[in-house]
Symmetry: none
Subunit: 196 residues, 4 copies
């Protein structure tokens, strides 16, 4: 019956995404998550040792979800510029879905709310996202789209930061609908810095 068990876990993690997402780690209450998951409060403890562990498992779930998404997205696009735009749009959706977690994601890296293991996990994820970006730029170099002397690491930093800032701006500050946000202005300008 581990299948059923796994299903239950999933159900709880999804409830956790809702509640932690809306309230943040501290204001979220285990009871609310239980209600959201339509189970009894103490049942959560049958699947997760503690609130913290549940939070961590949720983070890992989200991160893995993101990674698999981005792989799909990149596999379905070709060309450096197209991939970059797809990456940006996907990233925008991601932070829109997890706006409320941003707070915790950062706190997750820095404070001790989160265990060492998960911090490492998050760093690894961040690194992976970087690798992905670097891969895109590498591809661009190979294909001759980008200049040969491009430092792909620096390019990834700039791309990541710019996209993050841009979507953060539009979503959080201006309150825009993520479907309506067009990343081309950012990508265009980036291209000036990196193209051949």
């Amino acid at each position: 019956m581990t299948g059923m068990r796994e299903e239950r876990r999933q159900q709880i993690i999804e409830a956790a995404i809702m509640v932690f997402g809306n309230k943040g780690y501290h204001r979220a209450k285990i009871e609310e998550i239980a209600i959201e998951a339509e189970i009894g409060k103490s049942t959560i403890y049958e699947y997760f040792i503690s609130k913290k562990e549940l939070f961590e498992e949720m983070i890992i779930f989200i991160v893995e979800d993101y990674v698999s998404q981005i792989e799909d997205v990149l596999n379905n696009t070709s060309g450096c510029r197209e991939k970059l735009i797809a990456f940006a749009i996907n990233y925008g959706n991601f932070i829109n879905n997890h706006v409320g977690l941003a707070e915790n994601t950062i706190s997750a890296s820095e404070s001790t709310t989160v265990s060492f293991g998960v911090k490492k996990e998050i760093k690894r994820w961040k690194m992976q996202v970087f690798s992905t970006l670097e891969g895109i730029f590498q591809l661009g170099k190979s294909s001759g789209e980008l200049r040969n002397d491009l430092d792909t690491n620096i390019a990834a930093v700039i791309a990541m930061g710019s996209i993050n800032e841009y979507y953060g701006m539009q979503l959080l500050i201006k309150g825009m609908n993520p479907a309506k946000i067009d990343p081309t202005p950012i990508v265009d300008m980036l291209y000036k810095a990196i193209k051949k």
Copy 2:
């Protein structure tokens, strides 16, 4: 005697910067702040209505401090590129000093930990930082250093995001000493995108 009162407030805010900075809002205890400030716990309540108010006043203090610093820094430099580098270094110091607050600064924008008034304050600050950056780019256009058709707003987004990502990376992930971080690689690449 208001001078003394103001001094005490200062003293408490400085302690708050230490403690909130290290622990984040929730794990920070009023008592620790009192100990850090070398005063009695309830004395804090003579100066601030509540933990939340103290936190908010601290945020405002930091923000104002940053703004006045950045003004100084820009007044003491000339030329678009030089200003940009000075801005980056200063920003790096700032986030290094307030790493632990990043979490709260974000949560400050999004969660209800912080009152509407302070959220507005933070947005205003963010906008001001953007204006500053746009001002630098405007200057560059006027002086002929940057290309005429540059969209200074997008440029500011990219600059802000890149600098933030870069310093975040070096400080948080790689654990580098802020004095040793050299922003020129970022600025150089940005320049490719914006120069004439």
Copy 3:
């Protein structure tokens, strides 16, 4: 399982009667009530929102208890004089049991310790006690025991006040055993004023 829940509530209210009764609202500590009820401190908060709510529910409980008692008592007696004496004895027991609450019952009417809803409840109770007394006098008029022109309202005021003062005097000031207090002197004199 609501039966068990109701039982627990009862148990807490009874502990509250003891502790609030001995100490008054402010000096009573939730912890003491918990100890008296032989449960954990926070269990109280599973049943009552706050100390204030517990106090209010307790008042309502006592008041309802009194009303049902007095109904019983009057149903088991016949004749105006007999009912009046039974009323007095019952009232004496009541204030003896809740001496310590007198303070709060009054403060309950006047101060803001108690919410508007409960104040209304207490007034309603007071009015009901008055009605009961008026009913007794009405009965006496009908049966020809009392004079026809008797103002039953004024008579109720005098009866209530006299009985209250008399028992208060004997119990609080003279420290008498309530079982030993004989209300006939009061009733006899009242009768001079009201009989045919």
Copy 4:
């Protein structure tokens, strides 16, 4: 300079009457009393050892004030009935002025908020009021207005209780203006019980 000192004390007690009267013992804050008295907070401690002592001294002041008032009133009236009415009106004014203190006056008798000494003082006062009432009835017996076999003690209990209940009813429950409350209905009915 004890004259000035005495004046200051007075000033504080009067402020205390206002604040304790409006808020009751527990919700009243020393600081408010200081503000009401237009002095510094710690100055109160130059004149009274503690909040409790201030409260007690205030009670004694009020009680003595009442006693001297009632003496005046009775000296300026003649005849048992007239004195009784004057007593009632004066009592009505008194409780109207100190409605908020009723709560504390009772708690003063019962709880340990107030020291043994003051409790005794209050009992003594209550006894004195009773004596006064008994004196009125004694006078009526002597003058032939009241019946010879009247138990003046019981009469005093009934009179005190009735007047108290009547004014309490009109003032607290019905919210009447004390000047408009006419005690004659009560006195008339009492008279039926006590007159020759």
